[in-house]
């Protein structure tokens, strides 16, 4: 099996010599994309709930890698801090607190699975067709350069084009969610006896 693989690779490189030589960054991009998509697919299909969380972790790390590949270091760092450091840990905690982590999830009905696969495949085909027909053009507006300093001044700016107000609105929303969580958790169950 291994020998076969090696032979195949050699053939490919021999064929590709005449065409454009594939650069290292292209290979890295395809690798990252493959990691992301395969682990996302495994995360939604595996029946072990804890494994699903770990596959989700790899998918999120793959997306962070794509951001690094695009040279958006700040967004990649935020992706790692928020998703890998926050949300995956939250999901793992909720798995441990609410379910039996070692057990398998009950098997889904085949009809339901088929329906979901058909629906998502049809949606995928529709969007891909639209993408293939549509030609995207560059906008006339110049965006800010995505450096950390620029993002910071833009986010907290109060002059025109600053995002100070949405920032505060989002923080109010977060506060409301926190208080709502506490209220829900404090509500004691009525005595059933």
């Amino acid at each position: 099996m291994k020998k076969k693989k090696g032979k195949k690779k050699k053939k490919k490189t021999l064929l590709g010599r005449g065409e454009a030589i594939m650069s290292g960054s292209t290979v890295i991009f395809y690798l990252l994309a493959a990691i992301t998509l395969v682990s996302a697919l495994l995360a939604v299909t595996t029946r072990m709930i804890f494994r699903a969380a770990i596959y989700l972790l790899f998918a999120l790390i793959g997306i962070a890698g794509i951001y690094f590949w695009l040279q958006y270091e700040f967004i990649a760092a935020v992706q790692i801090i928020v998703y890998v450091g926050g949300i995956v840990v939250l999901i793992i905690f909720s798995i441990f607190l609410t379910q039996q982590a070692g057990e398998q999830l009950p098997k889904q009905k085949l009809g339901r699975q088929l329906f979901a696969a058909l629906a998502s495949f049809c949606g995928l085909a529709l969007v891909m067709l639209q993408l293939a027909q549509h030609a995207f053009v560059e906008t006339g507006n110049k965006a800010i350069e995505p450096t950390v300093a620029n993002i910071g001044t833009q986010m907290l700016g109060v002059e025109e084009g600053g995002y100070s107000l949405p920032f505060e609105v989002v923080s109010m929303l977060l506060l409301a969610a926190l208080i709502g969580c506490i209220v829900i958790a404090l509500k004691s169950k009525p005595e059933t006896e």
Binding site: M22, S23, T26, F29, Y30, A33, T36, L37, A40, L41, A43, V44, T45, I49, A52, A53, L56, A59, L60, I63, I66, Y67, L70, Y72, I75, Q79, Y83, I87, I91, S94, I95, T98, Q99, L105, P106, Q108, R112, Q113, F115, A116, A117, A119, S120, F121, G123, L124, V127, M128, L131, F136, V137, E138, T139, G140, N141, K142, A143, P146
Partner: protein, 60 residues
């Protein structure tokens, strides 16, 4: 293989989105449904960033 561009990013984010949709439809468990929603949100983020990267008009 071709040099990656805007359409590659859009391909990845579309595929990720519909993987998330598939997971959302098939799962019964609330935690796993949340994980599928995370995938969907991440695909949207990837879309935003791809458009910013490749459709940024540079008039220098």
């Amino acid at each position: 293989m071709i040099e990656p561009g805007l359409y590659h990013m859009l391909f990845i984010s579309t595929t990720l989105f519909f993987i998330g949709v598939y997971g959302f439809f098939t799962r019964r468990n609330l935690v796993t449904m949340l994980m599928s929603v995370e995938l969907i949100l991440n695909s949207v983020n990837l879309n935003f960033i791809a458009f910013n990267k490749y459709l940024w008009y540079d008039n220098e």
